[in-house]
Symmetry: C2
Subunit: 183 residues, 2 copies
């Protein structure tokens, strides 16, 4: 299990807001709404059904060639197009209930909100917290390519199976000026 | 469903840390560990099995007279006895798996950690976010009786049943100096 200590190994001084974004096992949308003080919405950049390759099949515990919903979104505030978080998710289609499938594939609804509205019981398991660099994502966030990106990958598990594997990414310069004093 | 806006109705200017403590649907222990930068432990103040009265039976959807585990704890940092959060929980005994029952009744393990370690799938539903006053709790936190207390009550739901109803309380003066800047 990952704990608050893990993010100390990233070799960057992280703000508490950044630590929360990397460590929480709750809804990222709720967290972003509190951090920004504004409603958060999803903007879908890409949404397609793909076939699982070997590696992806192992990760999701499905068969090679099984259908996966691949969704790329940014979470952003309603009245501001600057992305807060970039997220990619992989969902085995066969594991989706009909209503969840509609919310996920046809509508711009944040995952945490789908889970709450559809009353889906689950748990989240963080697989990886890491730093990365990616010029395209740097451009998306409007930061220089030299700025490291913080990322985490976690599974949402329901009925003992991976319902969804999600990777969330944001620049080291986002949520950085956050100063949360201890009580 | 409660959203970030609900806590605006409390008529106090709340810090973002306080809003997170009231709004999160994730582990409070993880949140407290990030906010304080220290490991968080449970100190059990009271632990007893009680019979459900009518009101409690309705809340938990059990029969009057059914056994409930009533647990009163504070969450605190390992090397500091000041309470961070005071929490009362009610758990229908019959709904507890054996291992969960042991962790809850015999050991000082935070709920979020039990759920994660036992791989229990659940969802959290916030029932009430409110302010209250209570002289004994004020004394416990070492604050004047005039300081309002912030509290929230939520259910942890598993297999469609309330596994646990929890009320968490902390003074308006805790986590108050928190200044989280938006990105």
């Amino acid at each position: 299990m990952h704990t608050w200590k893990d993010v100390k190994d990233l070799n960057f001084p992280l703000s508490k807001a950044q630590r929360l974004l990397l460590m929480t096992d709750g809804s990222i949308t709720t967290l972003l709404e509190v951090l920004t003080g504004q409603p958060v919405v999803v903007k879908t950049l890409l949404q397609q059904v793909v076939k699982a390759d070997v590696e992806r099949a192992v990760e999701l515990d499905i068969e090679e060639g099984d259908s996966i919903n691949y969704r790329v979104v940014v979470l952003k505030n309603q009245n501001n197009d600057s992305p807060l978080i970039y997220a990619e998710s992989y969902t085995p289609i066969a594991r989706l209930q009909k209503e969840f499938r509609h919310d996920l594939m046809k509508a711009d609804v944040p995952i945490g909100r789908i889970l709450a509205q559809r009353r889906i019981e689950s748990r989240r398991e963080i697989r990886l917290i890491d730093t990365t660099s990616n010029d395209e994502l740097g451009d998306l966030f409007g930061v220089p390519h030299s700025v490291p990106l913080l990322s985490r990958t976690y599974d949402i598990i329901s009925h003992g199976m991976v319902l969804m594997r999600i990777t969330e990414t944001f620049p080291l310069t986002s949520f950085a000026k956050t100063d949360i004093e201890s009580p």
